[in-house]
Amino acid sequence: MAEKRKKKLGIKQRYSMLTRGLDWETSYQPMDKVFPYDNYEGIIIHDWEGWEDPFRLTMDAYWKFQSEKEKKLYAVIDSFAQNNGHLGITDARYVNAIKLFLTGISPAEYQAARGFTHVGRQFRGVGPRVACQMQAIDELRHAQTQIHAMSHYNKYFDGLHSGPHMYDRVWYLSVPKSFFDDARTAGPFEFLTSISFAFEYVLTNLLFVPFMSGAAFNGDMATVTFGFSAQSDEARHMTLGLEVIKFMLEQDERNIPIVQRWMDKWFWRGTRMLSLVGMMMDYMLPKRVMSWSEAWEIYFTEAGGALFEDLARYGIKPPKYADIATKEAEHISHQAWNIFYNYTHAAGFHTWIPEKEELDWLSEKYPDTFDKYYRKRFEHFAEEEKAGRRFYNDTLPMLCQTCQIPMGFTEMDDPTTISLRSSEYKGNTYHTCSDGCKDIFDYEPEKYIQAWLPVHQIYQGNCGGAEVADVLKWYNMNLGADNMDYKGSPDQKLWDEWQAHRVKA
């Protein structure tokens, strides 16, 4: 490479040409009226030029690389569909993880697009504004590509027909929905702390990286490809998350306690939401790459540990209750799967009791907790099922006012006692599932008393009727197909037929 090409401008200069000097100080209207939201949260910015652009993709480069990613992705999606890629997955139980992804995560990508479109208008500094606008385009792409990739499964399997409708109504989908609603109704700096920092930087690796590697391990080429295609944008989003934190902390020391409180809040909300992912990894992948607790160790304890040491120079501490969350990594996936096994008649995907070798894998991965607290419970359920007494929980659960998860998680120092906290506000009692969720409620009770809690709504008669069947119809679920056990489901019947053909051939 002796004759080096000569670039007209360096990368930093090119990006600076894109993002600087294009805006102006308004004169007919005061700037505070043009940008009404970027100072009410209490974040003090002295110099918007202090914003360091993390990745410096100019528009021409952005379109070039994004279109290349799209071409690759759609080539794979086409080939997956043309070659009946669904036949190559390990086991049709796996598709239930995809159902949860399509109904729980993909609509959240769309909410993220809406959120970034909003804040991409609301910062008076042009650097963050451009970064947010580009991220909004990415998030829209993620929602679209996920729907396109998974639509192939919808041709054969149940439960994939009504993602956005279900997202707005179904009890367990209110967990991610309320997370994103909470973020989008906060101010722009809190939004970036919640989505870009707490979710994208600190936690998203736990969702996309081991889970997508798991999809690869289970023969799901389409999901791996959209997952990694999305994740290639995610690396940019992560750096935006870290940049916005450093920007706020460097601008004024009065920002530090505000940022710390947001980190505490959104770390906790994020870990609560990810309990669904823990369950997907430990229970819903027929072949597993790593356990939830191993993923937690790599991506939170190790990577997060380094991150918070880096931020310590600003006076930032690791998120409050990180120690509790780390203890929970040994328990939470088992407790969540237990909840869904109890309520599988009201869910849009199938559940099952893990097979013996799967229980053995869990025993091995969770030596301190699984045999002691959970294995016997699942074996008991399996015996009951065999005896014709499959256990369903027929009463509706109490939900946490903050995270909206059924109150089924336990005290970490006493894993047989349900964790329950309560707060009084304006003459009413509100219940939360943990100290983390209670702190969040207590700081902004006016916000959380407005929560649309699915169980309350059902009891108030707002969800299609009084019977479970009425509610499920209102969810747009096909009874007997989308819900109940995997064993005996139309999904299983179809899969077994395909397998029989394969054996014959």
């Binding site: 490479m1 993390p54 290639s232 690396a235 380094a306």
Partner: protein, 90 residues
């Protein structure tokens, strides 16, 4: 002890020369192979050099082509025309 920075790339033809270049330029790096992806950890800092990748693939390589293969990262990013670096500041 400095904490590790990390980059995760897809395990495919585009990424393999980049992985090779990272191994050459960061002798302390540890390469972890998972289904479909490769996670490279290194204490303190990790650099991807344009020059090294170009030598391996025998053509010009824009550092931003990294965007096509990257899955995740940990560390502060410094992106320049001829290198991409991750580091912690403490």
């Amino acid at each position: 002890m400095s904490r590790i920075v990390s980059i995760t790339l897809q395990n495919n033809d585009d990424a393999r020369p980049i992985i090779e270049a990272i191994e050459a330029d960061n002798p302390d790096a540890t390469v972890n192979i998972y289904p479909a992806m490769v996670k490279i950890d290194c204490a303190g800092r990790l650099i991807v050099k344009q020059e090294t990748v170009e030598e391996i693939i025998g053509r010009e390589w824009d550092v931003q082509e990294l965007h096509l293969s990257i899955v995740s990262l940990a560390g502060n990013v410094d992106e320049e025309d001829n290198y991409f670096e991750l580091k912690w500041n403490f």
